[in-house]
């Protein structure tokens, strides 16, 4: 069963009957990462794969065009050439999934990337999502006009906390309508939602309302992507797929900074959703410093020793 449908009716009965047991979720994640292990050349291949899934991100108050230039350069050649040639991989095969920036930097990224990589813009009053509705909606349209290929929207966490699923649904739906064919990633702000039950319910509502991806967090909350909230979201994606035939993407973001941890996320997706989801159309990892740690591991794989940090280019 495959579906091209964008919107699904808000099913309150389904949402209200969601059950998540935190202790059991924790047991699953803590044992899962010890049930699977990738070593040697398999590990290298998984790490290369991980690079292609990264939304290389800069989302700071002090971001400038210069910072975006550097980010884009690193995004286009994420791994040092000497490593790639040792691994016998062509340079143009390994690129990150996209770059992710604030609205007013989209045009600069577009200049730099020249259509070689998608640009994701965080939007709708990122990170709190509490500016006026019309402003937020307009931001979506403006970013697309500026050249954004994907829009990372933030949801109003207050709606979740108040269980106002109808409002949440309508808002996300209107953002999707504004974005039209451009993919939107709905950022749940899991740290603000606190309970796994809230995370699960918000995931479902966003998917019904037409989100193409669900994303854990802005990176600005105290709790960002971890295996527990990711597991809960992945299970909802699976459930939604079984119901609708539609494959929704997943984007964990914030705090994934080591090669070891990104492998755990990939294993989690592999086990819960399967290899179909392990491609940039359905899986992205929002990160900035992660890339350099992966590069170090690949350096080790290529040369049998760990590199000094100075040998690897920063973004």
């Amino acid at each position: 069963m495959k579906s091209n449908r964008i919107f699904f009716d808000l099913d309150l009965n389904w949402i209200n009957n969601i059950n998540v047991n935190l202790s059991a979720v924790e047991r699953r994640t803590s044992t899962l990462v010890k049930r699977r292990s990738v070593k040697k050349e398999y590990q290298a291949s998984w790490l290369l794969k991980a690079i292609t899934l990264i939304d290389l991100t800069t989302l700071s108050g002090d971001d400038t065009f210069g910072k975006v230039d550097r980010l884009c350069k690193k995004a286009l050649s994420p791994i040092a050439n000497n490593i790639l040639s040792k691994l016998e991989i062509n340079e143009d095969e390994v690129r990150v999934g996209a770059v992710c920036v604030y609205h007013h930097l989209v045009c600069q990224a577009k200049n730099q990337l020249n259509g070689q990589l998608p640009i994701a813009a965080v939007s709708t009053g990122f990170p709190a999502g509490l500016s006026s509705f019309s402003t937020r909606k307009k931001e979506v349209v403006d970013s697309i006009k500026s050249g954004a290929n994907e829009i990372d929207i933030v949801i109003n966490r207050g709606f979740v906390i108040q269980n106002n699923w109808k409002k949440l649904y309508e808002e996300v739906k209107s953002f999707k309508l504004a974005a039209n064919k451009t993919k939107i990633k709905a950022i749940l702000g899991v740290g603000d939602l606190e309970t796994m039950r809230n995370v699960a319910k918000a995931s479902l509502v966003c998917m019904m309302a037409g989100a193409d991806f669900i994303k854990t967090s802005t990176g600005k909350e105290s709790i960002n992507a971890n295996l527990n909230n990711s597991l809960v979201m992945l299970r909802m994606i699976r459930e939604f797929h079984e119901f609708s035939g539609k494959k929704i993407g997943f984007k964990p973001a914030g705090g994934i900074s080591t090669a070891k941890s990104v492998l755990e996320f990939l294993i989690l997706v592999m086990e819960e959703l399967g290899e179909d989801w392990l491609n940039p159309n359905l899986l992205r990892i929002g990160a900035s410093s992660l890339l350099i740690d992966i590069e170090r591991q690949l350096y080790h794989h290529a040369f049998g020793r760990y590199a000094t940090h100075d040998k690897l280019a920063i973004a």
Binding site: S23, E26, K34, R36, V38, I89
Partner: protein, 785 residues
């Protein structure tokens, strides 16, 4: 060019084997000198018989195991016996240091042990590394603590014979040895013949830890060696983990002795999923319940009970999950399911599954196939199963799950309890009211709420019903390795034969007391009762099998009604009040029937009233514990009544022993069937009116009079009786009680002490009755939102 790296866009799992070089070298080294660890040294076995031990994942020989003989066992027991006195007399701090040293050594060699266990048993390295070995270390740490803080009044039992199974070889060794030696016992342990390697390596660690000679003895062998241990006269206690079949044999074969027993036996544990559960998590629970250790787990959740409304959905999720399981080389770090321990076990699984299919159950297995080399069996799911299905009743001890449905919570309980076993149960619901309501209703020793197969040294583990008795772990496990000696009186009271008994003017007609009513005996026979001076007093009703049948039926039904503890407390207080009013009657009877002096009879009567007060007070004070395993959550160790307990009394201090037994059993919420001593039956029958006046509802206390020993066999065989206490003095009767108890593995208590000092007001003595009438259920409650 590396194809795997080149093809990085389609990532796959690759082999991730754990290195086994060091372990294989060690096995090669010991294969030439296969010895027992006796008296702190390696000792060459006198046995010539050897059996081939294999690596189950390759089905190739690992080494030859010697079957130890009687001489070896004698030597081991002898060394344990010699070591025991000193070991129990050194300071608790000293003992604690030895246990600590073992715990440390386990941790230092944890990976070696994990690899060795995996090779020998076939279980995945993931499990040995992350579960078995850490729990082994935890067990020694925990009991190092117990050795240090043990109550000075608790005395060790002596030499303990321990026989352990092949499914958790080193973990079961730890469960057995740690508490035993912490309490000052010495041990002779026999690992299972398929899996002795980690025990032998453990012996090397004992040598490194300088464990005093003889405290721990490890001898290899098969069932024949096990029998030599269970029948050894110098062994005071047997701790056994294994099948119910063998467990029953051990109970039977030790029935003529006073050996203490702990039995951890089989199970067919229910895994109950309610419609309001977190279904995805429950699916993972099933994986941990039945595909942990290839399902070769005594507490495996092998009976999946799904609420009808979610059956389809759940089975679909489960099948999807099963497709993702990975089976293969146990030393590979990405393997979920390893190999079955031995060819004979694989054959057994095969034949039981075939029988299940023939029986009409529907088998489903994942689409992938098992490795052909080695002893592998795929994860299997039976649907179209009912409680009557063969496959739903028999313990398969393999990766085979049977799935049944239920409609309502009450039906879930009924199906869950519809098995002779009672080891564990798993309950999945997000409704705290439901989960905590079901937990006490399931007859099993361990209940996991929204979790499964959780273990910790701080929590007791052990079964109800035919899953065995005794607990391992926690404070309750310490009880199993310390003496519960009853106080004995120094001299026997002289029987006064010159007492005068005045016959009442109207003849007495003592009947049986069943369900709160006085009933004529079914057989219509009576036996005569004389006073100690030989004067005929009256005829007493002689109960027969049918009276027993009626009585058990009512007692069992009454048990289900469950008075609350405050009710029970009030009733016992009131019983004491009403007994007091009839003081003269009972004094007169005590004097006439037991030959007691008037002043002793007075003492006995007063003590009886006091005793009722004691058990009235304890009805709401003999409480459970809360264990704190290292997790976010808690474990409730709840003391639950056994059910129907029958007591065969003697004529010694007839009122006091009757009141002690009746009061304690009632206090903990059981129903009583009491057979008073023949010569003093009239005292028990005289109590009917007091019970009635005290408003004790019918069925809680039932009294059957009979000639001495007449009902022993009938009662001990009856499968609806949950406990039997024998206070008579005849060894042959004790043996009958123990031997017959295996019909349903009812709990038996036949104290060794000949002259129990019933007057004792020692708490330990009085509480022993409460312990004997209860069993501990550990309810694990992880929480968090």
């Amino acid at each position: 060019m590396n194809k795997i790296i080149k093809n990085f866009k389609n990532i796959k799992y690759g082999p991730a084997p754990e290195d086994d070089t060091e372990v294989i070298n060690w096995i090669k080294k010991i294969s030439s000198s296969n010895k027992n660890y006796i008296n702190g040294k390696w000792n060459t076995s006198k046995g010539s018989k050897k059996i081939k031990v294999i690596n189950p994942s390759t089905n190739k020989k690992l080494f030859d195991l010697t079957i130890s003989t009687k001489k070896d066992v004698d030597l081991a027991v002898n060394s344990a016996r010699k070591a025991q006195k000193k070991w129990s007399s050194i300071s608790s701090f000293q003992r604690s240091k030895y246990l600590y040293a073992i715990a440390r050594l386990i941790q230092k060699h944890s990976r070696f042990l994990a690899v060795l266990e995996s090779i020998d048993n076939g279980k995945p390295i993931r499990e040995t590394r992350d579960i078995d070995i850490p729990l082994v270390a935890r067990h020694f740490y925990y009991h190092a603590g117990w050795a240090e803080k043990l109550d000075k009044n608790l005395k060790p039992i002596g030499v303990v014979g321990q026989i352990i199974p092949w499914n958790f070889p080193l973990l079961m060794l730890a469960w057995k040895i740690a508490p035993a030696i912490a309490c000052g016992n010495t041990v002779v342990l026999k690992p299972a013949e398929y899996t002795s390697l980690t025990a032998l390596y453990f012996a090397e660690l004992c040598i490194k830890a300088n464990i005093p000679n003889g405290v721990i003895n490890i001898i290899t062998g098969d069932g024949s060696t096990g029998e030599l241990i269970t029948s050894h006269p110098e062994i005071q206690k047997i701790a056994f983990t294994g099948s119910t079949e063998i467990g029953k044999k051990i109970v039977q074969s030790t029935s003529t002795t006073n050996k203490k027993l702990t039995m951890e036996l089989g199970g067919k544990s229910p895994f109950i999923v309610f419609e309001d559960a977190d279904l995805d998590s429950a699916v993972e629970g099933v994986v941990d319940a039945i595909w942990f250790n290839q399902g070769q787990v005594c507490c495996a959740g092998s009976r999946l009970l799904i609420q009808e409304s979610i059956e389809k959905k759940f089975i679909k999720k489960l099948k999807q999950r099963m497709e993702k399981l990975r089976i293969g080389n146990p030393l590979d770090k990405s393997i979920d399911i390893g190999a079955i321990v031995a060819p004979v076990q694989l054959q057994k699984i095969n034949s039981l599954v075939k029988k299940g299919i023939k029986d009409g159950a529907k088998l489903w297995q994942p689409s992938w196939s098992c490795p052909t080399e080695g002893l592998f069996y795929p994860p299997s799911l039976f649907t179209n199963v009912t409680p009557a299905s063969f496959i739903a009743q028999v313990e398969i001890f393999g990766p085979v799950l049977t799935s049944l449905t239920f409609r309502k919570p009450s039906e879930a309980v009924a199906i869950a309890n519809n098995t002779p076993y009672g080891l564990a149960a798993s309950i999945w619901s997000e409704n705290i009211n439901l989960a905590l309501d079901i937990a006490p209703k399931i007859k099993a020793g361990v209940i996991w709420i929204n979790s499964t197969n959780l273990f910790d040294a701080s929590c007791g583990f052990g079964g109800f019903k035919e899953s065995g008795f005794g607990r391992e772990g926690g404070s309750e496990g310490i009880r199993a390795y310390t003496k519960n000696k009853l106080p004995e009186k120094k001299i026997n009271n002289k029987v006064n034969k010159k007492t005068k008994y005045n016959l009442p003017i109207i003849d007495r007609t003592p009947k049986l007391y069943i369900g709160g009513k006085q009933k004529r005996p079914d057989g219509g026979y009576s036996f005569g009762l004389n006073s100690t001076n030989g004067t005929f007093i009256c005829d007493i009703a002689q109960s027969n099998r049918k009276d027993v049948r009626d009585c058990v039926e009512i007692a069992a039904k009454t048990f289900l009604k469950q008075l609350n503890n405050f009710n029970r407390s009030q009733l016992l207080f009131y019983l004491a009040e009403n007994l007091q009013i009839r003081k003269n009657t009972f004094i007169e009877l005590i004097v006439a029937l037991s030959g007691s002096t008037l002043s002793n009879a007075n003492k006995e009567f007063d003590a009886s009233c006091e005793r009722l007060f004691y058990y009235a007070s304890m009805a709401d004070k003999f409480e459970g514990n809360i264990h704190n395993p290292p997790m976010r959550g808690l474990t409730l160790a709840v003391k639950e009544p056994l059910g129907v307990i029958t007591s065969l009394l003697n004529d010694d201090l007839p009122l006091l022993n009757l009141i002690t037994v009746l009061g304690s059993i009632f206090s903990t919420g059981n129903t009583n069937i009491i057979v008073p001593g023949e010569k003093t039956s009239l005292i028990a029958t005289e109590l009917y009116q007091v019970l009635d006046t005290s408003d004790i509802p019918g069925g809680y206390i039932n009294i059957l009079t009979a000639k001495q020993n007449d009902l022993t066999a009938t009662l001990s065989l009856h499968e609806n009786i949950d406990g039997i206490w024998y206070f008579g003095h005849e060894q042959s009767q004790k043996s009958i009680v123990k031997k017959n108890s295996i019909s349903n593995l009812k709990r038996f208590w036949c104290p060794d002490e000949k002259n129990i000092d019933w007057f004792s007001n020692n708490d330990q003595f009085l509480n022993e009755f409460l312990y004997q009438s209860t069993q501990i259920k550990n309810i694990w409650i992880p929480y968090g939102e």
